[in-house]
């Protein structure tokens, strides 16, 4: 009974304890191995099995890669070289086909004298994208734009671009870099104009075409300000009607007339001459740029209180998601011809872009709807209580947060769509994976070459998709607001 009862003894701390470093664990590598690879019998067995599988794969394919030939003009020559170098019975990859058919894989049947045009369009695309993708980081923008400028100009020189266009490209590239250093938001004007410029560079024809397309929204804006004095709703309707009327009825005639007065034409390239990665990237970039806004609108419509708008969005989304992309592409290539007047020349690439856009917009809408649903109701209420109207609340409060939540899903949809561009092979377009490789094999010199083109095309697709994935992770990190 004489012991003190520890629980009941009063205690007052007179000095507070200073924080101390955690105990030093066993040294790094050994600890890591034990914890991650050999933590128990099952884990050890799995590790050994994994190592065995990797060994099996590498030992099987290693010699094929190691013996690869990069310089030859036909498959037979490749085989000859492999046998001469590595002896009878040796296997080896013949990547010479990529070296020899590089331009074909990149540009398809685009006129070779004009290869510089898509190259320039591709380079300038980064000037248009930089202020959008890297609006917050001057350092990244600078790196991207410097690399783009150097590579684009070098490639254009290699492809014998005319001097005047070299100067033009240099001005835009260097000018873009300079503007990005000081007033990055000014560069957004170029981002808005780029789609028209890009289309003009790719297909050629008269510059008056894109200019007259641009006139449409300007007229719409004029109508909006004029009618806006009377009624906000009427003004919106007037703007849309005026723009569409101009595009459908007057734009092409006005372009033709203007071209007659002052010719601004460069050689025209038909859509069936497009091919390879030029085609895949054209469809992919256009689809990505168009499907995000369309997806946002569909997602908002699906959550709308208005019954008609909501039902239309639901029907559209469910229909598009329920149909295979190939079916939509067939509709684009075959059925539309039955419905349109015989003389209309509705460009096949444009038709495919529309279908691909609608397809991925439906998926996009569901991804974004998930983000919208994840926002707490309090955010909507706070926006309401402050007096923000529906569109302002969506733009300033709801969408920035919902899109941030949806970034992984959005980028997954982009990646999926970009890979799906290879399906246009079924409507007779020369996408790189199948059509282009078939075209290459059609030549007697490369008959029988299968693995190498697939590996090459897959590798390029991987680089682009991996790039998108890394960008999405960068964006998520940048937008993280809770712990900084």
């Amino acid at each position: 009974m004489s012991e003190t009862h520890a629980q009941t003894v009063a205690f007052v701390r007179d000095t507070m304890l200073a924080p101390e470093p955690p105990p030093v664990a066993e040294s790094g590598a050994v600890k890591w191995l034990r914890e991650n690879l050999f933590s128990g019998p099952v884990n050890t067995v799995l590790t050994l099995l994994g190592v065995a599988i990797i060994w099996f794969l590498v030992s099987h394919f290693w010699d094929w890669f190691a013996h690869s030939v990069w310089n030859a003009s036909s498959l037979n020559e490749c085989r000859q070289i492999i046998i001469e170098t590595w002896g009878e019975g040796a296997r080896g990859a013949c990547f010479a086909v990529i070296r020899e058919r590089w331009n074909q894989y990149m540009f398809g049947f685009y006129p070779s004298a004009l290869y510089w045009r898509p190259t320039m369009a591709f380079g300038l695309m980064f000037v248009a994208l930089a202020p959008v993708l890297f609006s917050e980081s001057l350092k990244i923008r600078r790196t991207v734009l410097v690399v783009t400028a150097v590579v684009t100009l070098w490639a254009m020189v290699q492809l014998n671009a005319p001097g005047a266009w070299l100067v033009f490209a240099a001005i835009v590239l260097v000018g873009g870099l300079a503007i990005s250093e000081r007033h990055v938001s000014w560069l957004l004007i170029f981002s808005v104009l780029y789609p028209l410029l890009g289309v003009w560079f790719l297909w050629g024809g008269s510059l008056w075409g894109p200019i007259m397309v641009l006139v449409g929204p300007l007229l719409g804006w004029a109508a909006w300000t004029l009618v806006g004095r009377f009624s906000a709703l009427l003004a919106t309707v007037a703007a849309i009607v005026v723009t569409l009327l101009w595009w459908l009825m007057f734009a092409s005639r006005a372009a033709a007339d203007a071209e007659g007065l002052l010719s601004l034409a460069i050689p025209f390239v038909r859509s069936d001459q497009f091919g390879g990665f030029l085609l895949a990237i054209t469809i992919g970039v256009a689809g990505i740029a168009l499907s995000l806004p369309l997806g946002i609108i569909l997602a908002l419509a699906r959550r709308s209180d208005m019954f008609l708008i909501k039902s239309m969005a639901v029907i559209f989304i469910e229909f598009i998601r329920g149909v295979p992309l190939i079916a939509l592409l067939f509709v684009a290539s075959l059925l539309l011809n039955y419905f349109l007047p015989p003389s209309t020349n509705f460009d096949i690439i444009l038709r495919v872009i529309i279908m691909v856009t609608l397809f991925s917009a439906a998926y996009m809408a569901e991804v974004i709807r998930g983000g919208l649903a994840a926002l707490p109701r309090g955010q909507y209420e706070a926006a309401d209580a402050l007096g923000l109207d529906y569109w302002k609340a969506q733009r300033l409060i709801v969408l920035p947060q919902a899109l941030k939540i949806s970034i992984p899903g959005i980028v997954s949809t982009f990646i999926g769509m970009f890979k799906d561009t290879t399906l246009v092979t079924f409507v007779g377009l020369y996408e790189p994976l199948k059509s282009m490789s078939d075209a290459v094999r059609a030549n007697i010199a490369w008959k029988g070459i299968y693995w190498e083109p697939f590996i090459f095309v897959g590798f390029i697709f991987f680089i682009i998709c991996f790039g998108m994935s890394r960008y999405s992770m960068y964006l998520e990190r940048r937008l993280r607001r809770d712990h900084r």
Binding site: G378, D384, A385, G387, L388, K392, L396, D482, R484
Partner: protein
């Protein structure tokens, strides 16, 4: 029971005028078939500080959410600052820009800095130039004593700080009426005081306030009228002194004995 209120209240600016700020007449609201608010009659004069108390589910929050139309009422009239709340969007927007609201869970915009939270509505709703909106925002952030946090994001602040930002955000719209929906219920005891202090300061400046709160110390010190609600009805309303010392209805007595009993 009023540990949170430690200082003397300066009543020199607290004046209740004859002007009517809010008038609610025979207002009813249903959630589906559930009758949440029943025949509510309430007149609030400019400068009044009203505390609404009552058990959970009694309709207190719903009542003040009806005043800026976060909830729609189905019958009766609500007139705020001379504007009747109907389904007319223009009236709703007019009322909302005059009535500030502070929520239980703050509802700050997590993707914007504290300063941006405060300037957003003035810039986009009131069309105040950015510079001026920022100056006003800093003034109110100083008032709630966190000007140094202006460039942080809400997620980096404590609950009490966030709630003070939420109050500053509402004040930036320079509202004539402030609604508080259980502003301290989600806070730790240590942080309740800082938020209540801010609210007391507002009351001292003569702001018209309606607070749904369980802080009876605040009610006694600041309110000029306490309203007790139960089952969607106003059961009793009186001056705080009468309300706490001499409750009339049995339901009020029971409620007071439960929250003040221990």
């Amino acid at each position: 029971m009023s540990e949170a209120i430690t200082r003397e209240i300066d009543r020199s600016q607290m004046r209740i005028s004859d002007e009517v700020a809010i008038e609610i007449h025979k207002m009813n609201k249903w959630y589906g078939t559930f009758h949440v608010l029943r025949d509510i009659d309430l007149t609030v004069h400019r400068g009044e500080r009203i505390v609404i108390a009552g058990p959970s589910g009694s309709g207190k929050s719903t009542l003040i959410r009806c005043i800026n139309r976060l909830e729609e009422h189905q019958s009766g009239r609500i007139v705020v600052d001379g504007v009747e709340l109907t389904s007319d969007i223009k009236n709703i927007d007019k009322v909302r820009s005059e009535v500030g609201m502070v929520f239980q869970h703050f509802n700050l915009f997590p993707h914007l800095t504290v300063l941006e939270n405060c300037t957003l509505a003035p810039i986009w709703v009131r069309k105040v130039p950015r510079k001026q909106a920022e100056a006003t925002a800093m003034k109110y952030l100083e008032k709630v004593k966190i000007p140094e946090q202006a460039d942080k994001y809400p997620g980096q602040l404590s609950g009490g700080q966030q709630q003070r930002v939420a109050i500053a955000r509402s004040l930036c719209m320079q509202p004539r009426i402030m609604l508080f929906d259980e502003p301290t219920s989600a806070l730790d005891p240590e942080m309740i005081k800082e938020v209540l202090d801010t609210m007391i300061e507002l009351a001292e400046e003569g702001m018209t306030m309606i607070c749904v709160t369980h802080e009876m110390g605040f009610a006694q010190a600041v309110a000029n009228r306490v309203i007790f609600m139960d089952q969607g009805q106003i059961v009793e309303q009186n001056s705080p002194r009468e309300f706490f010392n001499n409750p009339k209805s049995e339901r009020t007595k029971l409620f007071l004995s439960q929250i003040l009993g221990h």
